[in-house]
Symmetry: C2
Subunit: 373 residues, 2 copies
Amino acid sequence: MIVGVVGGGQLARMMIPAAVELGIELRVLAEGEGMSASLAATAVGDYRDAATVLAFAEGVDVVTFDHEHVPQAVLRALVEAGHAVHPGPDALRFAQDKREMRARMAELGAPQPDWAPVDSADDLAAFLADHGGVGVVKTATGGYDGKGVRVVRSVEDAADWLEGAAAGGPRLLVEELVDFRRELAQLVARRPSGEAVVWPLVQTVQRDSICAEVLAPAPDAARIQPVVDDIARQVAEGLGVTGVLAVELFETTDGRVLVNELAMRPHNSGHWSIDGAITSQFEQHLRAVLDLPLGSTALVAPASVMVNVIGGPASGAMADRYAGALAAHPDVKVHSYAKSTRAGRKVGHVTAIGDDLDEVAYRARAAAAHFDA
Amino acid sequence: MIVGVVGGGQLARMMIPAAVELGIELRVLAEGEGMSASLAATAVGDYRDAATVLAFAEGVDVVTFDHEHVPQAVLRALVEAGHAVHPGPDALRFAQDKREMRARMAELGAPQPDWAPVDSADDLAAFLADHGGVGVVKTATGGYDGKGVRVVRSVEDAADWLEGAAAGGPRLLVEELVDFRRELAQLVARRPSGEAVVWPLVQTVQRDSICAEVLAPAPDAARIQPVVDDIARQVAEGLGVTGVLAVELFETTDGRVLVNELAMRPHNSGHWSIDGAITSQFEQHLRAVLDLPLGSTALVAPASVMVNVIGGPASGAMADRYAGALAAHPDVKVHSYAKSTRAGRKVGHVTAIGDDLDEVAYRARAAAAHFDA
């Protein structure tokens, strides 16, 4: 069994342990030398180049991804050449274009914020007028970690993006500014033959538009879990997603749950599962894209908390803090992505597991703090 | 942090996930192409050749091992060249020569079977006369998985080995045939600066002199755990072991615990810790040889059972049975060493965790049975 992963970032890296354990050969097409997943890199090249990706795909059983940025033309060339591609282009286009995603969610009847495509200043003005004069304008393509997202209170606030779109830049959409109590994420894995499994619902905490920590399971999840189970399964099936899908959600102050974003790959909101679940999202992704039976998503402990290491030590390497961090926290799992440190960059994470969420969160945050600049 | 591992078998392979997660670079000197740990192989060569091993050691922070067979002369050449070597030659000689091991255990006062060096037929005859006419003759060097071990009831039963020893072959020793109730193993990890930690005591079950399964923790361990804790720490310190040490033990029918064998590396009796403990023996070994603070050895569930896959499917690959095995056992962790199958060869293992030992053992055995020929 050989899985080819396009992209050499930390998500590809974290597939390596799962692949080694199951005896799966992993091959990575990395963007350059020294990437996070370089141990498994068998090729270096541009994922936007069809010839490069087609050459990489020769001899693998399935092609999957570290990110969602492989162009549709390249994805379709892979399929036409007879390669198994999971998730496939018909699913990935919904992760690549937020307008297509919102339109498809609406067709599926999935709960989501009010939204509208924005092709002109008039479109935006009309939406703002209907929504108390405020909205969240997004570029349909190319956004991540808060980029490509802007809260606007007038058409002028989006003038540059409107100009850009008119000049052939990213198309736009606008969404209602949701008054939310907290953010949640529901991970689901689905294999081509249809089997789908969900992990327990988690709560995500963002800082500066970057995921800072994840509480698994989400506190007080019992009421919402059946609802989000249904949403996640419906979205995975409705969009034809294969592999892991993360459904990011708002829980509104009036108790509803709305779909915020989708990620069609292992996702930061699931890193806790490496240490906190019987089957991690990385193992599950490999099983799913190979169309193997999926593993149990049960927790190994009542509570898991994952805290990202963002930026990392000024010294340049997480390992420089290991002596202190590991001595103080022998029961916390430290994960390094072997990336150079840089403000705002996710360079690793720590996970603690245990019986009591507050106690576990305290330990995870204290351990992660060892790696602060 | 760069760890060099001499030997490319499954123990080196199982260090890869731990290294990836901690951001440690692992380099393996493999015996040939296509070894179990080939993903991390940066060199292929003969571990008995000092020049080969010295060249491999260039640029790594510490040299450690997949097995105990690196000759003393090569180990000492590494030390003389200034390399950190863990475990070091002074410790490894006790794993390489059972006569030296028994003599050192006696000095330390560690409980062990009666034994004697055998340099002649008379030595053996005298021991047998003192021990009811029966003994276990072993070659001091080169034995494993039941090889180099023979129960004898007369000098004639060992005639070929005595001849061999006289002709310059492996030296011999004889041990009393212990009337044991069960076999146990106590894993301990020790770092150069002295810190040592033990995992819970486990029970090992051998079939045809090969480890078949491991129950963690050993049933009814409470009475024995403090005793074996002390033995393991005493042996690790007394022999100067760095890294993981497995102390294999007999529990006698009259309730004593005797040291049977030592292994100075991650050991089959600790594979359960990958899924069943906060810190696996593989992660701990890396931490120990790098002299990093050691991790918690607490269990993640009350019971873990590991069952070896020995021989493997007649089809030649464990993966050929994944569809059935994973579907029937979504909560069991399957580990493949990516080795070709062969009667009597350990090609993988499965581990189940849960609350009740009997139930967990049932699941692990049933899952492993999917991979029988």
